[in-house]
Amino acid sequence: MARIGVFICHCGENISATVDCPKVSEVAAKFPGVAFSTDYKYMCSDPGQSLVVNAIKEHKLTGIVVSACSPRMHEPTFRRACAEGGLNPYQCEMANIREHCSWVHEKGDKTDQKAIDIVRMMVEKVKRNNALLPIKVPVTKTALVIGGGVAGIQAALDIANAGHKVIMVERDPSIGGHMSQLSETFPTLDCSQCILTPRMVEVAQNPNIKLYTYAEIESVEGFVGNFNVKIRKKAKSVDETLCNGCGMCTTKCPNKKNPNEFELGMGNRPAIYVPFPQAVPNIPVIDKTQCTYYKNGKCKICEKVCQPKAIRFDQEDEIIEVAVGAIALCTGFDIKKTDFFPEYGYGKYKDIIDGLQFERLASASGPTSGEIRRPSDGQVPKKIVFVACAGSRDPAKGIEYCSKICCMYTAKHAILYKHKVHDGQAYIFYMDIRAAGKNYDEFTRRAIEEDQAQYIRGRVSRIYERDGKLIVVGADTLMNAQTVEIEADMVVLATAGVANKGAEELAQKLHVSYDQHKFFSEAHPKLKPVETNTAGIYLAGACQSPKDIPESVAAASGVAGKIACLFANSELTREPLIAMVDRQAPPMYSSCTGCFLCQPVCPYNAIEREEVKDRNGNLVRELAFINPGLCQGCGTCVAVCKSKSIDIEGYTNLQMYAEVDALLNS
């Protein structure tokens, strides 16, 4: 016979100002099965919790209903109190009469009645609660970091420095990401490579970090603490163990006129190349689409000049299988190219470039050795126009969000331009100057006040070419929306930051959710900003949304902290609120028919096939089995199971039915 205790919390005045708590308690005392009912000002306070613990012991309660706030707030508190009273912690239910009642209704009889109904539902539910035991899952204390940009580097170093093994996978031939392409960084104007390359070297030298460059994720299986990952190590056509990075191959390669990705097409590179001088690892790769040997079967000059004999034309992609306990997604972002903008000439004007290309022009290691020269004729532009929000905050272009970094880097570009072209004039078309951040606003003021950048508030409607000049037509909304026409020598578009190539496929491989712009979604926008909805997979940096360097680094350290916490124990404890498939004694075995229609709906790949065999080892039945380490208790399988053979522990069909019944039959 159930003996349920009901504890009505006033939550100061949060509840009691609207709901008549003593009355609710009085009515609840008469519910069938309720042995004890009371109300108290702050149930979550120490005396409040003692009240619960003592009542359990004194009245020999078999379950409790704490009628207070959302279970998101204090369910763990009262589960602990429940356990302290000697009950299984899962014999505790929260009846939410705050968010679901007092906060959303006026004072009155109807509100009281709703609170009573909520309590009644939970009383009926808790009567049917089962004692549950936490699930223990072993943890492989190795982390996988996907992406070797600044976020990935930071996460990998932090995890490695916490004493754990790290496997880093980078798609490009070198780590460094977009940060290695930048010239200077805002708001301090320190050289990007100067601060990044030491960290890159650290990654290469850290004994806890195993680095796979020119590699991609092939597949991910498993669950938190126990992921099995296949990594495709693309063939570099170079034996990494032999190559000493002397660079003879890249110097002697006769096929040098290939567009340089690192310089965003503004320079050339040989078919065998290292993306940039400080690349880590300093090992070249052969671009098979460009290499003369791969195209025509002749050349092999690199092989002849290679002293350590490291060139391997017959090298094939290698699949490496690794076991990891946690995954940090740091795959970064991409930007829209100038061809995205019909109004700015679809990318056909050579002197309209994007922000990243300007970074390369301003960089000492760039194609112009740091001189600002326009791509078409190499002239130094005397009038330069920067267009902020090119694509961003533009629902018509399908990108309604703010790309966040452009205001700051555009100010930086204007400053760098002025430092390099003293007699030049920079114009910046902007919608708002968004410079929130430490020393950020000061930085944009500096662009305006010290470096005479002329900010024009308005958008650019059209850019076209006339007599070798780019005519930028825009509006100045602070001057009565007057049309502004500037004859510019060069235009830099601060194009929208977008999700990286292949983000969607990767998200699907990892079963993490992503938004309509293909940015990965965090588990909670405020309280779980670096977790994904899939346990054990975390995200940092601009793969989540456009972020600047300090934010990316902070998030990466946050991820590293989360992973270090995960690895602090050899076993994981998970909430047992997961789906279970019915099991019975033979000859039924289960009401599960083994149709496996539940398998495709599971977002976590948690449903497996279990074979039931007789004594002789003959297969009797195939049944669905839910891996407790993978299941997140979402309940989608419960909804599709026609024979209702799946139940969520703590939210069983029986419990739900009893709740609805209690509500309808009140």
Binding site: M588, T593, L597, P600, V601, S643, K644, Y657, D661
Partner: protein
């Protein structure tokens, strides 16, 4: 018919199967499903225009489940049922030999699943003229009229569950309707209880029904259940481009999501 018999006899004689599932003559000029286990017994096997019951139903019964291998005389309805059962992991290809028979009663020999898929495509599911007329009538109704029509149509239901018993896709060991804790579906045959039962069955069959019409044939009070599932199949085909019974590899519309789903019903 003789070639069907010959095939069945050979299969049993060569020990290729332990059991042949087909029809024999019953009493009073009726035919009835029968299980043949010896080549001699096959003398009694028949196949004629009266052999219309969907005997794929018996594949999930103990006698077939316990047989290591079996053959079945399969008209197009049975072939579709077998493919769908295979798609739902209820029967394995190596266990079953399909003796294919066309709508006209012509034997096409043994079919493996691949051949059965081809066969299914050439043997479209039949719909009687009166059924077509009824579908047109229902489709012309407004949403409210449709609801009223079905409430009325279900009202004579006596909850005998013959529809369930005759359906090869209703293979759950324990049906929800038998659960009394919680009692999902009221057992008493009243108007809305009947509605709940038939809606549940319709939803469970949506995208899985192979439209053999057995539910309607077995119904003692003539509820046009086949029309309900036919319309649902049509809807699923139109919305999700998915059709049951055409392939042994199949992901049903209700438990899958693809980028090309039209989702018109939400818009």
């Amino acid at each position: 018919m003789e070639d069907i018999k010959k095939l069945a006899r050979e299969l049993l004689a060569d020990n290729k199967v332990q059991l042949v599932l087909g029809f024999e003559n019953g009493t009073a000029n009726r035919v009835r499903p029968a299980f043949f286990t010896t080549p001699e017994a096959v003398d009694k096997l028949i196949y004629n225009e009266f052999c219309i019951q969907n005997i794929a139903l018996y594949l999930k019964k103990d006698i077939c489940q316990h047989a290591a291998s079996l053959a079945i005389t399969a008209n197009p309805n049975v072939v579709r049922s077998i493919l769908q059962l295979a798609a739902e992991n209820q029967i394995k290809e190596e266990k079953i030999k399909i003796i294919g028979i066309t709508h006209e009663g012509k034997c096409v020999g043994l079919l493996d699943f691949k051949a059965a898929e081809e066969f299914s495509k050439t043997q479209p599911k039949g719909l009687k003229d009166e059924d077509k007329a009824l579908i047109e009538k229902i489709q012309a109704m407004s949403l409210e009229e449709k609801f009223d029509y079905w409430v009325e149509a279900f009202s004579p239901c006596i909850k005998c569950y013959a529809c369930r018993a005759s359906c090869p896709m209703c293979y759950c060991g324990k049906c929800n309707v038998e659960s009394n804790n919680p009692q999902w579906i009221p057992v008493a045959p009243h108007k809305y209880g009947n509605m709940e039962w038939h809606m549940m069955r319709a939803m469970h069959l949506a995208g899985r029904c192979i439209n053999c019409g057995e539910c309607n044939r077995s119904c003692p009070v003539d509820i046009p259940l086949n029309i309900l599932s036919y319309m649902l199949s049509d809807f699923v085909l139109e919305e999700f481009e998915s059709e049951a019974g055409l392939s042994a590899v199949f992901t049903p519309a209700l438990s899958s999501y693809t980028m090309v789903d039209k989702e018109n019903f939400i818009k």
